[in-house]
């Protein structure tokens, strides 16, 4: 029996005249994700995409597993593709969905036909198949309102497709359809989640990490690599730019009031990030900030940090989320266990004991004015390191 994967692309179907741009991006992303599995055909029609293996060696289990992490897919199901006549459809449905039929208590049949020349209409298909299933599986009852299992039959141009319940896909929009943005990633729990959330909205990711050797170790950077590798399973490969940050942190530590250390440091991060982002063609910055989580994420502190960003919009997808909500997502996308590895990172080095929680922009600017801001940034940007993470 021929088997394919049927995808529903959900939100994309609501797009107007540019819908095809989105769909093409989605197909491009899928092709990229499945490219090593063998020859596969992608057929788009209305709000569905059919993924059809062309050669025999395509591992459909693996393809299905990977497609579950592709943004832009609302739902997916594995289907049997059978000949377009009831003699083929009836036994195939009973056999192909055997495990699901055995586990369910109630079911219903839903039929669709886009091929209007098919001799039976949809209600007729339902009646006939439902009858056969009831005959074969005595424990089942029909429930048209809330069934455990929906047996779907879709009669299309070349084949009739049979599948059970549709599984939820990763949702969102195809990565790349919204352009590229830069995520500031430290190694904690929040930034990978923020990155994932924005990739879900169709953004291609570019990552910026600040390293302060020897205060931070190589392991801290390796931790960032593995976090990004995990996120890249959803977003596709992520270019990473590592900014040498030691000198800047030491200068702040030596010359600025201790309680403003973190704010001033974050202002430097934002300045560096915006320049790198613009240089790399990114249209926005992404951070994992959430109001009130730490001293540098109070409203006043965020205002002081944001003040140095000149042009790009700043996306903070976690701004209104609780820590446990963020942790829930990080567990779902499998970044949590890596995030909690206990290495010093650029944000924990030199943290003041009593940071100012309501800094005034004026006093921050004044404290900062003793530093050669431009010189320090330039020195850092002249020594960037670039690595590509993910496939």
């Amino acid at each position: 029996m021929k088997e394919i994967i049927l995808l529903k692309n959900g939100e994309l179907a609501l797009k107007g005249l540019n819908r095809h741009t989105f769909e093409n991006q989605l197909v491009k992303n899928m092709k990229y994700r499945l490219h090593d599995l063998g020859k596969i055909r992608y057929v788009q029609s209305q709000s569905t995409i059919m993924v059809e293996p062309v050669d025999e060696r395509v591992d459909l289990d693996e393809a299905y597993r990977r497609l579950k992490t592709v943004f832009g897919i609302a739902g997916l199901s594995r289907c049997a593709a059978v000949e377009k006549n009831m003699d083929a459809i009836l036994p195939a449905a009973c056999e192909y969905l055997r495990d699901e039929l055995l586990l369910a208590k109630t079911f219903k049949v839903e039929a669709k036909r886009s091929d209007k020349k098919f001799p039976l209409n949809s209600p007729q298909i339902c009646m006939e198949l439902g009858g056969v299933i009831l005959e074969k599986y005595h424990h089942l009852k029909v429930d048209v309102h809330n069934p455990d299992l929906i047996v779907n039959v879709e009669v299309r141009d070349n084949y009739a497709y049979i599948h059970g319940n549709q599984q939820k896909g990763a949702g969102g929009m195809p990565v790349g359809s919204a352009g590229q943005a830069a995520i500031l990633i430290s190694g904690g729990i929040d930034s990978p989640v923020a990155a994932w959330m924005m990739a879900k909205r169709g953004l291609r990711l570019y990552a910026i990490h600040f390293a302060s050797p020897p205060y931070t170790s190589q392991r801290a950077e390796m931790k960032v690599h593995s976090l990004l590798r995990q996120v890249s399973k959803y977003s596709g490969s992520i270019p990473l730019c590592v900014v040498p940050f030691t000198r800047i942190q030491e200068e702040i530590k030596d010359n600025c009031p201790e309680d403003l250390f973190t704010i001033i440091m974050r202002r430097f991060m934002m300045r560096c990030a915006e320049r790198i982002a613009k240089d790399q063609g990114c249209g926005a910055l992404i951070t994992g900030e959430s109001v009130g989580q730490v001293a540098s994420q109070t409203m006043q502190a965020i205002a002081c940090t944001e003040a140095v960003v000149e042009e790009l919009p700043l996306f903070r997808p976690l701004i209104g989320m609780d820590k446990d909500e963020v942790i829930e997502i990080s567990r779902k996308i499998d970044t949590f266990e890596t995030s909690i590895l206990p290495y010093e990172d650029c944000c924990t080095v030199f943290t003041p004991k009593h940071p100012r929680t309501r800094p005034q922009l004026k006093s921050v600017e004044e404290a900062e004015s003793v530093l050669d801001v431009e010189g320090l940034i330039e020195e850092a940007l002249n020594n960037l390191k670039f690595i590509n993470i993910g496939e």
Binding site: P214, Y215, T216, S217, P342, E344, F350, K353
Partner: protein
């Protein structure tokens, strides 16, 4: 230049071990349990390896069980003893400074209803015999005390365990985690009144993946891994011959412990004298600790940061135990050291191959770090 000063974490292989591993991998790869000639050759290698380890511990070959390393030796000993004797009593005595591969199994037994007494230590990391005597009653089934502490080098008076048990009329088994002592000091379980003793290959310049447990003749252990007949059924599974043969070769290559001890003592004294002359230094190891392990604090510079700095210079030391990366040292806490000392602790561990040049380079590294790095509050 490079200075590898993390020998309590692991050691580089000595040439003898490399050659033997190679031999076992390529020329003697049979299954020691096979009846044919190919298997017999492997079983001969296994038994000669066993004799070498037995010889080093002054015991009989049939008292040596090969394991996968120190952690497995400790687990087999602790679960094996506690489960074999649980009908006789339910008290286990150990110390508050054990390696996690002793602490965790005992914690597990505690959750199953064993009554666990953890002996406290003084500021030198040393237990008090009086406390040991006081805790020992007839219901004690197991006393587990490490010989040399892996973080500070303190040598525990293990011999008191048997005495305390006999004194209290307890029929307890005595286990000693001697992983950090093997090859570095005299190690005779019979003289120490020890029934079970753990040693490991990769701390003595052997390969990883092998260790041994001394099980005194007549000692019954309840196996906790079940399978074939290998290793007295206590550690079933086909023996990893390359690791075991390499382990034995490394043990065989160890010179008399007195030689190494003298060498280590000289290096330690030299280092401590010089490092103490610097500012902001505290020595956490007691003066009479095994000289192979030196624990110090460089106040104001967190361990991890200092580690990175030294690592960039090619100097490799550790913060506490390599098996507990990132966690605050249980041992230093038990010694009641202040937080700033614990947070900035470094463990420097030597081997018989360590040179004075390496110690000098470390001193240079620490001095440089103190000069260049910003202190944390």
């Amino acid at each position: 230049m490079e200075a590898y000063l993390d020998n309590s974490a692991t050691t580089p292989l000595c040439k003898e071990a490399v050659d033997k591993v190679n031999f076992a991998l390529t020329s003697c790869w049979g299954n020691p349990s096979s009846l044919h000639a190919n298997g017999i050759a492997a079983s001969e290698l296994l038994e000669s390896s066993r004799s070498i380890i037995a010889n080093k511990l002054s015991c009989e070959p049939d008292e040596i069980i090969f394991t996968s390393g120190g952690t497995q030796s400790n687990n087999i000993a602790i679960f094996g003893a506690a489960n074999a004797l649980k009908r006789r009593g339910s008290r286990i005595i150990t110390t508050s400074v054990e390696h996690s591969s002793v602490e965790e199994p005992i914690k597990h037994l505690e959750s199953q209803g064993f009554d666990v007494i953890r002996l406290r230590v003084n500021e030198n990391g040393l237990i008090d015999e009086r406390q040991l005597y006081a805790a020992t009653n007839p219901s004690v089934v197991l006393i587990s005390i490490m010989y040399v502490n892996n973080e500070v080098g303190t040598i525990q008076p293990v011999e008191f365990a048997k005495r305390a048990a006999v004194h209290a009329g307890a029929n307890a088994l005595i286990h000693c985690d001697a992983v950090q002592a093997f090859g570095k000091m005299q190690l005779k379980p019979y003289n120490m009144g020890v029934d079970l003793m753990s040693v490991s290959s990769h701390k003595i310049h052997g390969p990883k993946g092998a260790g041994a447990l001394f099980v005194k003749k007549g000692t019954r252990l309840a196996p906790y891994v079940l399978g074939g007949l290998q290793e007295n059924k206590i550690r079933p599974g086909t023996e990893p011959m390359p690791a075991i043969a390499g382990f034995a070769a490394a043990a065989n290559a160890m010179p008399d412990y007195r030689q190494g001890l003298e060498h280590a003592q000289k290096l330690r004294d030299y280092f401590v004298r010089n490092v103490s002359a610097m500012e902001n230094i505290k020595i956490n190891s007691p003066a009479n600790a095994l000289p192979y392990v030196i624990n110090i604090s460089v106040l104001g510079i967190p361990s991890e940061v200092m580690l990175n700095y030294l690592s960039n210079m090619g100097i490799y030391v550790s913060s506490g135990s390599a098996c507990a990366k990132g966690n605050k040292s249980r041992v230093l806490k038990a010694m009641n050291l202040s937080d700033d000392r614990i947070n900035s602790a470094l463990r420097i561990s030597l081997s018989r191959f360590t040179t004075k040049e390496e110690m000098d380079y470390l001193l240079y590294g620490i001095a440089n770090a103190q000069k260049n790095m910003r202190r944390m509050k």
